[in-house]
């Protein structure tokens, strides 16, 4: 043991005297490592996509080009299903799920699986983005580095956030967005303990990206001169983006539900979805792939198509995205949101130009930019991520005032119609959405086994009432579990109230057996039961305590009084830092 410990001390950095005093330094150093690694992963996907695009570029002109997205989606789905054995999807809910339930524990293979599958999907033309896959990869890299160094859950969660932040800041060259996204969406808790390492990881991720790809702003644009009238017009734009966000969320759900009703192999399903996208792309090539080229054109104000085409593009992109993601392709929602958002902004600009022809508005690029912010904020219901992302990827600080307005209003409106954001809807429905410092989290962490009180006096079913009265005098509890003497099986429960009317009649002492008094139909709890459900059952049946049964044997009682006690200490411990 000592020998092993001596050789492997470098794998237990939390035991180094340097770090033992406080783990902040440890987290910052490992966070920097995680940020760099996930930055590299993001750049790898970026290069892969460019390579795929160049490789497939020559084939796009053929009439059969519409099957390319189909083949890409099918390959990606086969890869995930057969080789990696993971479900399709974009990955962010998976990361949040692991952070909520398992302290950020993730599999090693998750760190590259989404890179390959999304490269196949998007590179071949599927309408999806590379951001969520790199976020998942980065998170998995953070989690595995934490496991390698044997860190605890809290530190691992911070490193998962570091990975996500590093990846996002690398792919967009946007360090603040990485930081804000990791805190707002992935971790959900603003505390200095998380923010500092994640900020460092963001810096390292962005630095890696700048070293490899140069420090460039993703979407350059002209100078915007925003006047109060533009800010006012943004209120209308926010309503538009909110409506489109809700439409996108619902279309994604409907299309996902539809695809699950068709009983064909997943790869065939993905292929069908991909081919439909290919057909749409044949007529409207702007919907294919991540779509950043169109975004660039729109932000520059160089997108020439008119109101009708742009409106059609909004819906075509929504449909294409739903068929890509809902039918088994692999990729994120970020890039489609940016594209749909800029289409929406442009559509709104064209629309107000027609309605109010005399007013001179800010350049249409400005509206495209605001539309992106509105859609990201609406879909993610994360206004800060929306604001910082758009500021950083466009460098358009001069639109900050309308930008904040659009983000805030769009988020609020979407929240009214879709209480849970696109990322968390499934998690909320399954009860897996557990944010730190919430009731759900505390209840999920506590287990029935930790709350069991074992000081009940067990009685046998053949005991006479007279003997029971003596036992009652000694017990401190009001409940008496009844067991079968031979098998040890739990038969029922006697509450003090059940015997109150008999115990003052000595005549019954020798004639009544406990079997006749006990309550055989008792709500019982299993050791593995979910505490929130147990509480619901207690409330529904107006109970204050319930017996815990394992293998038909009585283990102890679980009561609301003890629960409050433990709940409180758990809450204090969880919120202390």
């Amino acid at each position: 043991m000592r020998k092993k410990f001596g050789f492997n001390i470098w794998r237990y950095p939390s035991r180094w005297i340097f770090f033992r005093f406080d783990d902040r330094l440890l987290l910052i150093s490992i966070g920097a490592l995680v940020g760099s690694c996930s930055g590299l992963a993001a750049m790898a996907l970026n290069r892969g996509l460019i390579g795929m695009f160049e490789f497939l570029h020559h084939y796009r002109q053929f009439w059969w080009a519409f099957v390319i997205p189909g083949i890409g989606a099918a390959l990606s789905s086969l890869f995930l299903e057969k080789i990696i054995k993971e479900g399709a999807g974009h990955g962010v809910p998976e990361v949040v799920y692991s952070v909520s339930r398992y302290g950020g524990l993730m599999r090693m293979r998750s760190s590259f699986s989404r890179l390959i599958s999304s490269c196949l999907t998007i590179g071949s033309g599927g309408s999806a983005g590379p951001e969520a896959p790199v976020v998942m990869s980065g998170a998995a890299i953070g989690s595995n580095i934490a496991q390698f160094f044997s860190l605890n859950d809290r530190q691992r969660v911070a490193l998962v956030g570091c990975g996500a932040a590093g990846a996002l800041s690398a792919i967009f060259n946007a360090p603040i967005t990485g930081l804000v996204f990791a805190i707002e969406v992935i971790i959900g808790e603003w505390s200095a303990l998380n923010i500092v390492p994640i900020a460092v990881a963001s810096v390292f991720g962005a630095q890696v990206s700048r070293l490899l790809a140069g420090n460039q702003i993703a979407f350059t644009h002209l100078q915007f001169h925003v006047r109060p009238i533009d800010t006012l017009a943004c209120l209308g734009l926010a309503v538009f983006t909110a409506a489109v966000s809700i439409l996108l969320t619902r279309t994604l759900r409907v299309s996902g539900g539809m695809s699950h009703q068709i009983k064909i192999p997943v790869w065939l399903r993905a292929m069908t979805g991909g081919c439909i996208v290919g057909v749409i792309g044949f007529f409207l090539p702007d919907v294919l792939g991540e779509g950043y080229h169109s975004v660039q054109l729109m932000v520059e104000g160089a997108f020439s198509k008119g109101l009708m085409i742009v409106s059609l593009l909004v819906f075509a992109k929504i449909v294409a995205t739903s068929f890509t993601l809902g039918w088994g392709g692999s990729g994120g929602i970020f890039a489609p949101c940016l594209v749909i958002g800029s289409f929406t902004g442009l559509m709104y600009h064209r629309f107000i130009e027609v309605v109010l022809p005399g007013v001179s508005w800010v350049n249409e690029g400005g509206f495209a930019l605001l539309g992106m912010a509105g859609l990201i904020s609406g879909i993610l219901q994360a206004p800060l991520t929306g604001i910082f992302l758009i500021i950083e990827i466009t460098g358009g600080y001069e639109v900050i005032l309308p930008l904040i307005l659009v983000s805030a209003i769009s988020t609020t409106l979407c929240h009214a119609f879709e209480p849970a954001s696109f990322y968390f809807k499934d998690l909320v429905e399954k009860g897996h959405y557990l944010r730190p410092r919430t009731d759900e989290k505390v209840l999920a962490d506590l287990s029935v086994g930790e709350l069991v009180e074992k000081d009940c006096m067990i009685v046998s079913k053949d005991m006479k009432l007279g003997d029971f009265v003596k036992i009652m005098q000694k017990s401190h509890r009001n409940f008496f579990p009844v067991e079968d003497e031979h098998s040890g099986e739990f038969l029922g429960l006697i509450h003090l109230d059940d015997v109150r009317e008999y115990i003052f009649d000595p005549l019954l002492y020798e004639t009544v057996f406990l079997e006749q008094i006990m309550n055989p139909d008792i709500e019982t709890v299993d050791l593995d039961d979910d505490l929130a459900e147990v509480l619901d059952r207690m409330d529904a049946n107006h109970l204050f305590s319930m017996p815990v049964i394992a293998n038909k044997r009585f283990v102890g009682m679980i009561s609301k009084a003890t629960l409050l006690d433990k709940y409180r200490s758990e809450l204090i411990v969880q919120t202390d830092h």
Binding site: L151, N152, R154, Q155, D445, G449, R568, V573
Partner: protein, 228 residues
Amino acid sequence: MRLKIEEFATCLQLTVSTVERWIRQGRIPARKKGLLCVFNLLSMQKWAEANNLTFTPPGSEPEKKSKHRMDNLLAAMKRGGVFYDVEGDSVETVLNSAVSHISCFKTKAQKESLYESLVARESLMSTGIGKGVAIPHPRTPLGHADIPAVITTCFLKKPVDYNAVDKKPVNVLFVLVCPSSKYHLHLLARLSFCLRDEDFLKFLARTPAQELFFKKVDEFDSRFDSSE
């Protein structure tokens, strides 16, 4: 400092599973090494205080229980003493002469306050519980913390009309004075255990000598303990 995980959990008054989970989740400044918990005592105590918990390291004095053990009937009776041919022909006069015998109450003021509270209790409702026995006692503890619980047994010279529940005259008094209500109930339960017994009542009617009486009480004390 190193402790077994079970001991460590006991120090915090938590279950082992809670402690293990907290260590895994990194909520507690301790780490596991095999079956041991490794931690720094000072930071552990600081953490416990900040989190509304207590950390009592093993070997440190467990908190002394404030309530000392309560005596049984015999000890209280021996302190109170047994007196024969106690004078008096009414409730007040009988109580007055009984109080004069209680040696624990030394000053005149103490005796007077005891007498007054006994009379006040009798005027509320007679303590004559029937079959010739009365248990005079103050309604609330007198507040002399230094005076231990006493039961003074008085065999009366002649039966007195005590307004008892069964209207029969009383010939034995058990004056019961306790420092606390809890103590009072504790002794009263034991006394009533004796007085429920027909043999004990017959034994009392014979006005037994002090040694015989204490022997009988001791016998009942142990009977009470074994039934409990």
